[in-house]
Symmetry: C2
Subunit: 225 residues, 2 copies
């Protein structure tokens, strides 16, 4: 089993602010697991009792709304921590996590990491900074949901996925989602997503190959409508 001291992934998250001793302690109590595509990692309302550090792969964080439809709230990738909010507030999770690809994750039990939160202000501040960034992002999403059309929101989602997660050699978005997932990001019906993607394709803004999508005209996508 790999150990945290040599793990490059921690440079991307708050674990980099732990002291050498703290990191060794964490490394000794963590567990690693592989999660297959489509698997539920945890469900809304569960006690997760720790934090996940993503070493490989992608997952979606969703929340079930009253009408029975899932809303995708965030995409989590290699380098991200998952579960900090529930940890910090000592609450059950408000979101479910589902793998969108095969994943490798490490799980750090709550007790160990809480110690550091109470004792290492640089670590706590680092977590705080990430959460502050998430909150700013969430504010932006709220404004977009409230004020923009479905077409604009879809264009933004595509641009976001492009800039945040990049493309493969052929220019295809590395994150591959179903039309339904896009609907659950944008907050609309699957049919609406299909229609708008068809329209974008017809207008030369994107190209598709199966589920894969390539952005062809980002300038126009940015100024939809």
């Amino acid at each position: 089993m790999s150990n945290c001291e040599q793990c490059i992934v921690r440079q991307f998250n708050a674990l980099k602010s732990l002291t050498k001793e703290e990191l060794t302690r964490i490394s000794n109590c963590k567990t690693s697991k592989t999660i297959s595509k489509g698997q539920l990692i945890f469900d809304e309302g569960e006690h997760i009792n720790g934090v996940y550090c993503i070493r490989e792969g992608i997952c979606k964080l969703t929340k079930l709304s009253a009408n029975g439809r899932d809303q995708i709230v965030k995409l989590v990738v290699r380098g991200d921590l998952m579960g900090q909010r529930s940890l910090v507030c000592e609450e059950v999770t408000n979101l479910s996590a589902t793998a969108l690809s095969e994943m490798k994750v490490c799980f750090i039990p709550k007790y160990e990491i809480m110690t550091d939160l109470h004792e290492n202000p640089e670590f706590t501040l680092d977590i705080l900074q990430h959460m502050a960034k998430d909150l700013r992002e969430a504010d932006n999403v709220i404004v977009n949901m409230a004020q923009k059309s479905v077409k604009q929101r879809l264009a933004e989602a595509l641009l976001y996925i492009h800039s945040a997660f990049g493309t493969d050699a052929a220019g295809m978005l590395t994150i591959v989602l179903s039309r339904e997932d896009y609907a659950n990001i944008v907050g609309t019906a699957t049919e609406s997503i299909i229609r708008i993607l068809s329209q974008f394709k017809k207008d030369g803004l994107i190209a598709t190959k199966g589920k894969q999508i390539k952005l062809e005209d980002m300038a126009t996508l940015r100024n939809i409508e």
Copy 2:
């Protein structure tokens, strides 16, 4: 000028986690001001260089969307801190703050409070817990915006204001907002808010007296549509 040691308001926010010495230092460098109704406290994109502690009154945090309309992202009241996110990330604010009533606030300069963030993990954790709560709230708002109808969102906004900020002796919501403010919370046109409020009134779900609103049938409001 009052001092923080005797100020009851700090019990409601993270300032309660400061040590006695830290609090004295903060108390000596803070400034107090009165802000009149309607006044802009800070504007999106400004460096605010500190944190506001609300001693009295109410204000709205808004973000201007691309189409020129404001979205109300949060209501801030007595006891709340304002500006932590920008402080923590060392960024310009992403939101504007406008007083909805006469307010009394204290302003704590950035430099002083940053010291505590780096040195007092209990204080940092307290801030972190508040932000975690804000983030969970924000996730809920995202889901509601994405998945619910305007009517449902308005009903929720009314119920939220009722439960979070309470009523006066006559049962009227203590927070009094214009129809336009409600539109900017719900993310819809002012006319739609007016129509739906009229409908709610006709159906006996609310009563109104000028701008004041009283919830008459919360059970039905919770299950709209």
